[in-house]
Point group: C4
Chain length 267, copies 4
């Protein structure tokens, strides 16, 4: 065994060490608390402490990602995992010094994204997020239909109500935001009463929009529920069949065929 392989194994042992994982989670939580602490008004001493802790966290993350990278068998494949890319990006951007006033805000925001490393480090959360992302494509066409409904209503709204209130109905983009507000029922009657002073029948516009989107949304939810239930149903059936190894109707048929053969042979 070559010495480079031995070193690789040493790094791998560190990475797969339970203590290593727990200390990484602890440091992520610590960095999350730091991010939160910075939003409070701190005393100069507190700011100094936060400053040095921040540097410590950055160095720890740099070491950690290096250990992971070195411990990885295939260096190229390391970046095939989107979570590794995310981790590396967050860590490297953290290294940019935050002394310049211009990038200070950006640097602080990047530090916020460190909290998301919690998701990348806890497998259950990663799985949860994967399943959320996986559920999106099946919503594809419903979301497209939703968008078309929004776009058509926004175009009609911007055409008819532009003169009444340019802040709400100035152009198609602003109108879509206003319609989203109407969909969340947030002060939607104020918006309606205003246009009803000019177009008394404009309540039809709002009510039809609310019904359409509510109906499409309901349909989407039911679609997801039915999908999840079906998958669960199939998983259960498959599991039962595999686990129990119980005789099936097909097994019985084979047995009956044997009996018939036995009877036939004797005739």
């Amino acid at each position: 065994m070559s010495s480079s392989n031995q070193a690789l194994n040493a790094f791998e042992r560190i990475r797969s060490n339970k203590m290593f994982e727990l200390s990484v989670i602890a440091v992520i939580i610590g960095s999350a608390l730091l991010v939160g602490a910075k939003t409070f008004q701190l005393s100069p001493v507190g700011e100094q402490i936060v400053y040095w802790l921040d540097i410590a966290v950055t160095i720890f993350f740099l070491l950690e990602i290096s250990v992971r990278f070195i411990a990885h068998e295939n260096k190229k494949r390391f970046f095939h995992d989107p979570w590794n890319v995310f981790d590396t990006l967050v860590v490297t951007i953290s290294l940019i010094p935050i002394s310049q006033a211009d990038t200070a805000l950006v640097a602080r925001l990047v530090r916020v994204f460190r909290v998301l490393r919690m998701v990348s480090i806890i497998p259950e959360l990663r799985m949860l997020l994967n399943s959320l992302v996986k559920a999106l494509p099946q919503l594809g066409y419903v979301l497209l239909l939703m968008f078309i409904i929004f776009y058509v209503y926004a175009a009609v709204g911007a055409t008819l109500f532009h003169a009444i209130n340019p802040t709400l109905w100035g152009d198609v983009a602003v109108s879509m935001l206003t319609l989203f507000r109407v969909m969340t029922f947030e002060d939607w009657t104020d918006v309606m009463y205003e246009t009803m002073t000019v177009y008394p029948l404009s309540w039809i516009y709002y009510l039809s929009f609310i019904f359409l989107t509510a109906f499409a949304f309901l349909n989407m939810v039911i679609g997801i529920v039915v999908n999840v239930m079906n998958e669960e149903h199939e998983r259960i059936i498959k599991e039962e069949a595999e686990a129990a190894n119980e005789p099936t109707i097909a097994d019985l048929k084979a047995e009956l065929a044997e009996i018939k053969q036995m009877l036939a042979q004797r005739q």
Copy 2:
């Protein structure tokens, strides 16, 4: 083969061409962007461009609908498909010149409906909309009950609260709109507190209304979910039976009958 048939085939080849379909979708998206662009403040040059693009889209749609119509085997049946009627209507109304100030608004709105052609051209969206429309009749009686609840409460509201706030409770129609607002929880306490100054017990009116409609709504949603689940369940059972072609209990019984016959014959 006659030359007219040959021409028909040529048109049909165009229609069923993948490129034709994609270019139609592209033009619809283009026309949707045009509709959106018109709601923004444009420079004179931009307005000129939009004007000419609009004409180009109109001509393209006219050509496209002509190709479809000519390619259709049975000219009469062409208009049996409601989507074809919708497409033709949208295209023909677009042809009306928008120079007159009076019809300018109407013409602009018709151009907005062109975006809905997206639904008529993408089969998945057409199916989705069909399934939405198909789900409506099963809601028939719940919607009727909902309407009766609304009407009774609106009549009571218009009778009792008319003098308190004529804008909200002026007549039965306005009261229904106010009740819809209450159902969406939009500033419903403002409406309630106002009538409570005169009728301190009027909170019973609002709470009973909210409970009744929420309960009816919940019932409706559960009804749809159960319906969809049942249909799905039946579809799965049918599919499994057809696809697998597995032996059923009835098959087993037939086999047993055969065995019994074999035994009986020998006695």
Copy 3:
């Protein structure tokens, strides 16, 4: 056959006549429109028309309920059906003259309840309402738990926040109304920000309340869904078993027993 029996049959024939039923529905819809019309400002002529139509409807309803009563076999059992009691009450209260100013409002409200006769006359709506009412008892304990949560929070709210805003937190009854408002998310932050000026930690009160009620509500909805699904599931299984009359595993076992007997007999 006695003449009184003949008369009974005549009334029964009227009642079970399709035309009679349809005309009753038509008159109910008419009376609903009248109720709605009265909430609008009418010309003196219009008011006269509404007045006479109202009398006509009252007389029609009186005749109709009489026909139903006379046609009913058992006069005592007639009032066992709650819908008949409701119909009779609505009709008899309508007979009270509305000339006195004091009872005018009451009389108008009673006329509104005539619209509810729509529910009593259409069997599908009656069934729907029955199923809604039937679903209530299974919610009994969840509603009791909900009420206890409300009561405890209202008592705490009235104790702590009484001095801050007596309109919202004056006593336990008003506090429950305020908490219902918080549950519907209607301007709940205004309520919270006000008490947070005195008790900065009072956000715990609101958030815990929202989580508790949301969680209990969710649980209730899921309970209903599961219940409905189970009933549906059992109904389907029962139907399938009855309708198809397919051989079951028990049938197969009986057949096998017969075969074994045949084999045993020959030995």
Copy 4:
């Protein structure tokens, strides 16, 4: 039988007496009404009555908990039941005299918690609460993910919007409260419009937050529904199998094996 055992039995007979249980429930309801009554403005006589009733309830509860404790077989195990601990705590804290102004408020609040004894005394409510608590851990990771989303958005919000409105975005804790408000759609557009004056693109922040939380919430609800359904499904299958004692496919296979043996023996 020793006299101490006889006494124990006497206490046990009291505890398991139906009348005892009902009178405890009656007193709890009474104490709940007292708690409510105290929030209203009372006449001096009324206050005197409430004061003495309060003492009576305290004494009754003290006696009741003593009976329960004495009747309990194993004195140590008595406090293993969390409900008993809760009951004892509520009763003992009630004993602290409320004459001192400082603890008066605390004492009144403790009296409010007496209402919760309703939950501990009615088995159905206790079961309901247990099932609610049992449902929580399965939500663990979704709630953690939700919290991370909230924390990251709150940190970003406190960093970017701090200067715009310190009341809403002052630090990460206040920002989380503001985001909860946005999630409940309570005047969320006011919050958004304010930050959009400085960062016109900040609508992305709000919309992405709403979509993320709505999606995670939906996922959580569906997860619970599917879980409950599965448990119910398994319970039904188990019940059916146990109750009916119907022959299974495995039974049939055993029978077929017997027949084959019978046939083989004769050859």
